[in-house]
Amino acid sequence: MTDVILEKVGKTYPNGYHAIPSVDLSIEEGEFIVLVGPSGCGKSTLLRMVAGLESISTGELRIRGERMNEKEPADRDIAMVFQNYALYPHMTVYDNMAYGLKNRGMAKDLIAEKVSDVAAMLGLTELLQRKPRQLSGGQRQRVAMGRAMVRDPKVFLFDEPLSNLDAKLRVQMRVEIRQLQRKLGTTTLYVTHDQVEAMTLADRLVVLNKGKAEQIGTPMDLYNKPATPFVAAFIGSPSMNLLDAHLTEQGITVSDELTLPLSHPHRGAIVWGIRPEHLDVSDEHNADFALRIQAVESLGAETLIHGKVETTSGQGDAMVVRLSGPHLPDINSLMWLKAPAQYWHLFDAVTQQRL
């Protein structure tokens, strides 16, 4: 069953700024959708429009078939976890979690039951009488999630909930959020700028760029078949090598003089892409091209090699190669590389669409 539908939803601010032109998205019940994009891409705005904290300028938002555009946030049957947790500082953990239920006129014993259930699930039982300032960052995060969970809403909204935690805790909470969401089966909309978080959490990802949904799909769809160079560069770390190239009868011309054979009907300027992990080390006779090594990042499990495509002009494009295991090539030496054709990504340079 389709749970949340955004139909041509757009946002224009009173000063005329067109934050979101038009977004279409339909979310299935129990799905975990991640909105991802660089800062200023409108992902938080979109989430806040679903929440009802920002008005919807054009289009329609429906939750379980019901139009929500004009409804107050409290009447949309949604719950939100904020970036800075937004816990009420003067209330205990218990009161923080119970506040929303109290305002809805729920009976006291029922509230107590719900809160203690959720607290037990999140491991907060011991902390119920504490004030937020007596809690650590991770605990506050849990309380914020608990406050959303006791409401038993149709939709969870998360606005970069992990960005204030340290790296280790972030990984731990990420796993926890995913498990909880699976267990509760609540439809979730999650905003982040961190592509690792997005890839690991999402059933489906929405990559936003300047208020437009560049691509919507499963993490692996986006990794294997990015629709635009923007998505290609955004998903994956280190990001995909994207080179300006030309498609001719002979194949793809890269860095003005290097030709990779390919028969493709398209002609003209294109963007040629290949992921750093798909480049293979080869020898002089079998290689497609050579890389002049400029920097080496050894991470133990993998090695990232930065270099320039070797050309006669010396003006070759920069590329990154990712090799597993430790490697210690000399700086300025040449490295022969093979780029298997099945991993190529071709985009039209003008329309920015995948070919």
Binding site: L53, A74, F82, Y85, Y88, G100, R147
Partner: protein, 282 residues
């Protein structure tokens, strides 16, 4: 800064002790004076230690009519002062809380203009607008009433400004979270805003109570009925004796009594007061 220099310690202690002596000496004098007969001051030397007329003076001050045209006892005037001071304090806090709430959290036309108009009233304290204000109060038939004593002094730009700053520092996410939790404007005000500005309210209470208690000009102007005399203005009246001796001992005792409530408020609320001025738990 932690330094360990003996002479520095000495100098700073000496400075502090001198300061304390300067402040405390007049109070001490008043206390001593209230234990001597009224005539003790007319003879040229000022006593520095307690006399033996203490019980008599204090008894007279507390329970007899104050005299010199003041027809009510001191304790009654203290009550009047207290009613006026508390009226002004709570009135000011309530009104400025509400106006700051409106200015910060509601979008209405000319919002900023409203704020600046309120702010500009800082330039119009009672002393400046005393004649028109008197006119208004007189026309409303509020002379010689508690309402007349407190109402014209209740509007407060300072407090509104203070609460505005306090409200502005409340993170937007908190307001949004409350909205998601289904808290309407009143719920938000009472459940979130009031508890969060608790320390600011306490700090303002101290300042405003002293302000209200020390009102002199306004009560002097609008009260002609002894039943509404306040203590601070009456001290002056007790001094204006046309014939006979000034009862210095009684006046000193009254002065001490007039100092008591503000001191009590400051001491009682010192902790919250300091907290309200220096930190916020948001």
């Amino acid at each position: 800064m932690i330094e360990n220099r003996p002479w520095l310690t000495f100098v700073s202690h000496a400075t502090l002790l001198t300061g304390i002596a300067l402040v405390a000496l007049p109070v001490w004098m008043a206390l001593v004076a209230s234990t001597h007969p009224a005539s003790a001051f007319g003879v040229g030397h000022i006593p520095l230690w307690f006399g033996d007329a203490g019980a008599e003076t204090w008894g007279a001050v507390l329970f007899d009519k104050a005299g010199n045209g003041v027809d009510v006892p001191v304790w009654f005037m203290m009550l009047n002062s207290l009613i006026m001071a508390l009226g002004i304090t709570f009135g000011k806090i309530a009104i400025s809380l509400l106006s700051a709430y409106a200015i910060v959290f509601f979008r209405f036309p000319f919002r900023n203009l409203c704020f600046w108009i309120i702010f500009m009233t800082l330039m119009l304290p009672v002393e400046v607008r005393i004649v028109p204000t008197y006119e208004v109060v007189a026309n409303l038939d509020l002379l010689n009433s508690y309402t007349g004593l407190t109402l014209p002094l209740i509007a407060s730009a300072t407090a509104t400004f203070l609460f505005r700053q306090c409200f502005l520092s409340i993170p937007g996410e908190l307001v949004e979270a409350a909205r998601m939790d289904g808290a309407g404007p009143w719920r938000f005000f009472f459940d979130i805003l009031l508890p969060l500005s608790r320390t600011n309210i306490a700090a303002l209470f101290v300042i405003l109570f002293i302000y209200g208690w020390n009102q002199y000009l306004w009560p002097l102007l609008i009260t002609t009925d002894d039943a509404y005399y306040t203590l601070v203005m009456s001290i002056k009246r007790m001094l204006s004796v046309t014939d006979g001796d000034i009862a210095w001992n009684q006046i000193m005792a009254t002065t001490l009594l007039a100092m008591l409530p503000p001191v009590a408020v400051v001491i009682g609320m010192q902790k919250l007061f300091v907290k309200g001025l220096v930190d916020s738990e948001k």
